[in-house]
């Protein structure tokens, strides 16, 4: 495995607010994580993966993520993803990826209409992804959520298809669903397996001091995969 530090840029929109935490968490995992402004039209040449962080891009106007998907940098992210590049969307980043059509389903206002901010327990349903490879089958993770629009929705047909394909990677543990998401879905991967979005915030759970270090399993999996792609490219 290469000793070089993989480059995993973190995109910043007006209203993003978890970009620095994501940067810090990635750096602690041995990664270079430059923050990239949304008007940039290209990703750094050596980009091994991209993170779309949480926040409230464009004030959540119209629908969460609906405006950010038209930013210049997202064209670059789309092109990167189309070539198999690894893309992780956290919370608002997840919302942006669904609005852009890079991930299935849509994120709607929480069923309670209340903002929810607390630790939730999650079940890892798939471990053979670049985002969960450090987890073991059926592992329970504790990672915080903090969102007002985390109610993931897909109609029955789409839901059945995603379930059959093993794309429902993370689900809230029994009794934990904080937002009314259908089938307790907390995180979804695309059919190609290189784009993943989740509502919980792994970047806020990377040290026992924060209450949990389980988020480092998600980000660490991504870093492992980024290192592999780096090694393959050499």
């Amino acid at each position: 495995m290469s000793d070089a530090r993989p480059v995993i840029p973190v995109i910043v929109w007006p209203g993003s607010n978890d970009d620095r935490d994501a940067q810090l968490a990635l750096e602690r995992l041995g990664v270079e994580a430059p923050r990239i402004w949304h008007t940039d039209e290209a990703l750094p040449r050596e980009t091994a993966a991209v993170v779309l962080p949480g926040g409230f891009s464009y004030g959540d106007y119209l629908r969460c993520g609906a405006i950010a998907r038209f930013s210049p940098v997202l064209r670059a992210v789309e092109a990167f993803a189309a070539e198999g590049g690894l893309v992780l969307g956290i919370c608002n980043g997840f919302q942006i990826l669904t609005e852009a059509g890079l991930l299935p389903g849509v994120l709607r206002p929480n069923a309670s209409l209340s903002f929810v901010c607390r630790d939730v327990r999650l079940n890892v349903e798939q471990t053979d992804t670049p985002f969960t490879s450090r987890c073991v089958d059926g592992q329970e993770l504790t990672i915080p959520v903090k969102h007002g629009d985390g109610c993931w929705f897909a109609d029955d047909e789409l839901l059945g298809e995603l379930d059959a394909n093993g794309q429902l990677v993370l689900r809230y543990a029994a009794g934990e669903n904080p937002n009314g998401a259908i089938a307790d879905v907390a995180g979804v991967i695309n059919a190609a397996g290189n784009v993943f979005g989740l509502m919980p915030h792994p970047e806020h759970a990377v040290d026992p001091l924060l209450g949990s270090a389980d988020g480092a399993l998600i980000l660490g999996s991504l870093v492992d995969a980024a290192r592999l792609s780096l090694a393959a490219a050499v």
Partner: protein, 80 residues
């Protein structure tokens, strides 16, 4: 040409906002059911051609104003 776009949650889509509004209306003593809350966008389109305006508005709805998975839309053009 002035246009109004009405965006509604599709039938069968859970609408917690509509439920909250309905509940408040009931508290006020109104006998109501099935309240749904959508969104209204008024916009000036830079054409006087009705067909062209409609075509543009439909593209606006599909690209930005609605998420077709969960929302339907209705376009109203102001009579010239």
């Amino acid at each position: 040409m002035r246009a109004t776009v009405l965006v509604r949650p599709k039938p069968g889509i859970l609408d917690p906002q509509g439920q909250a509004v309905e509940s408040s209306l009931r508290h006020l003593g109104f006998e109501v059911s099935d309240a749904r809350v959508g969104r209204l966008v008024d916009v000036d389109v830079a054409t006087d051609d009705k067909t062209e305006a409609l075509a543009q508005l439909e593209r606006m709805c599909e690209q930005l104003l609605t998420n077709p998975l969960i929302e339907s839309y209705e376009i109203e053009l102001e009579q010239a």
